[in-house]
Symmetry: C2
Amino acid sequence: MFQGKNRQWLLARRPEGSVGPEDFRRNETEIPEPGEGEVLVRNQYLSCDPTQRGWMARDTYMPMVPIGDVMRAIAGGEVVRSRDGRFAPGQRVQGFFGWQDYAVAKPGDALPIVPIPDGFPIPTAMSALGLTGLTAYFGLLDVGQAKAGETVVVSGAAGATGSTVGQIAKIKGCRVVGIAGGPEKCRYLTQELGFDAAIDYKRENLITALRTHCPNGIDVYFDNVGGTILDCALVFLALHGRVVICGAISTYNDETQAAGPKNYLRLLIRRGRMEGFLVLDYYHRAAEAIAALAGWLREGKLKDRVDIVEGFDNAPAALARLFTGENRGKQLVKIAE
Amino acid sequence: MFQGKNRQWLLARRPEGSVGPEDFRRNETEIPEPGEGEVLVRNQYLSCDPTQRGWMARDTYMPMVPIGDVMRAIAGGEVVRSRDGRFAPGQRVQGFFGWQDYAVAKPGDALPIVPIPDGFPIPTAMSALGLTGLTAYFGLLDVGQAKAGETVVVSGAAGATGSTVGQIAKIKGCRVVGIAGGPEKCRYLTQELGFDAAIDYKRENLITALRTHCPNGIDVYFDNVGGTILDCALVFLALHGRVVICGAISTYNDETQAAGPKNYLRLLIRRGRMEGFLVLDYYHRAAEAIAALAGWLREGKLKDRVDIVEGFDNAPAALARLFTGENRGKQLVKIAE
C-alpha cells in the first residue's frame, strides 16, 4: 500500500558492558499492512531510555527483546493508515512502536497507543508529557509521597526524568537538591530550573555536600542511578523517609552484578521505605498526570529539555550517550519530518 | 528504705566483633529511692534482644549506651514503691528497667511502664505479649500488610520474633515458610508451630529451596537476619511484594560494614517495597496487639517459647547466645523469684 522501505534497527546480540552500535543491526523491509483493529504509524521520533539496556540483556519486568527483533522503544509519529475506528490518519500518537520507520500497532499492547495532546510538539509529548513526565509525576507524588516543606533529593538530576522530578517537587513546595555530574549540569539545575542546590558528584564529597544541603535530612530520595550515590543518600534519610527506586543507570552497563546499598539498615533506624515502581502500572491514571504536566508547561513552571539527534542511523549512538552522561535532557532521534 | 544491694551490669566498652562478658562490668549500688512521680521496680527477669548489640556500639534509633552506664534492657518485675498514683506496690510491670535488680522508672520514658496482663506469667508478658509479640504483630500486619492466601517467608524463624511472625501469618491464612539453622529448629517450625515448610539455611541451597517452597513468589519477606538470606529472598519477590526489615542479626557482630542487598533492584522489577520499622513507634496501639495476642495464646493458636537462663551473673553470656543461635525462643535471664 505504502511505497518505500521500512528501515529498522534489530537487536544483534546481548550487550556486554557498554551498549553501542555493534549491538544492533540495520535492516530494511517492506512497509507492513495493518490488520483488522490495527493501525499503521509512521514514526518521526525514536526514544532512547536507560531501561532499554535492560530489555536488551535479560528478562526484567518485560521479556528481553529476542535477538533479531526490532529494538523495542517508545516512538512518536503519525497514524498513516487505520483499521481501528478510534484512530484516523493524520492523528499524532506515541507508543511502543520500536526503532523503525513504520510500525503496526494495536490498542491493548503493553503501552497503549497514546494520542499526543493538541498544541504540543511530538518531542514534548514524548518527554514531559510522555513516559518521562509520568515517571517523574507518579514516582515523586505517589510512590514518594513528597509534601510541601519536605526535602527532596534527586540523582541523575539533569537527566530527563530527574530534572522533571526536581521541578515538580519545587512546584509542590519542597526543598530540592539535585545530584548531577559536572558544573554545567549543576548550574543548569540551580540557575535555570530553580533547584535549591546542586551537588556535582564528580567533584564534591557527597557526604559533606548532602550534610550541608539537607540539614533536616532527606524526606524523599528519588534514585535514578544506584551505586555509591544511593548509599550516601541513605545516610541522611529523615525519619519516615522514602527512597524511590526509579532506576540505577550507574549499574546497567556492568555485567558483573553491582554491590547493593550497604547502608540499607538506615531504613530500620529511620523507619524508612525503599520502593521500586514502573510507570506502566500507572497508565490508567495517565490523564491526571498529563493534565497537570501540560498545565505547568503552559504556565512556564515546568521546563522541558529535549536532546535531539538527527538521523535514523544514529539511534544506537544516541542510546549510548545516556550512559556517558552526554545527553542534555530527554534523548530522542529524529528520523523524519 | 529498702535494705540490700542493687546489682548492676554496666557497659564496660564498645564491643568489637562478638559481644561477650568482657564488654560488661559488674557493679553494686544502694537501692535507689524513687522521686516524685517515679516508681521503684524490682526486676525478676532481664531481657536479651539483638538490638542491644546496636545500643552498645553506636547511636542508632536511640543514643548508644554511655560507657559506665547500666546496660539498657527491657526487664520485668514488680513495683515495690510508687510515687505515681497509677502504680501500686505489688503490680507487675515491664519497661526499660536495665540490667539491674532495682530500677527507678517514670511513665513517659522511651518505653512506658507497661502493666503485665492478669493471668499471664512475666516471661510470657515479656515475650509473646511484650516487645517480641508486638514487633511480630505490627511488622507482619501493618508494615508487611500480609493477607490470607499470600506467601510469607520469615528468617530467624525459630527465634522469638520469627516464630511469632510465622504463627500469626498462619492464623491469618497465609502460606508460611521459615528459614532457620539446623534440622532441630526446622522440625520445630513445621511439626510444632504448623509452618508449611522450613528451610535449613546451613544445609540447603536457599535459591533451590525458596523456588520449591514459594512457587508463586514471596508476598511478604520478614527479615530478621540480613546478609545472603535477604539477597536470596529478593530474587523471589512477588509482584508488589513487601520486605519488612526488622533486623539483621547476621551483620551485628561484624564491625566492618556488611555488604548491602545486591538484588535490591528486584524492588524495581517487581514493584516491591522494603521498609524498616521499630515497634516503639507502635506503642500507642499496644492494647490492640496485646488483646489479639492474648486471645491467640488462650486459644492455643499461638505458642510462646521462652529460653530462661538462671542467675544475674549470666546475663552477658545469655546475650551472646542470640548471636550463635543457641537460644530457643525468647532469651530471658531470671534474677529473682
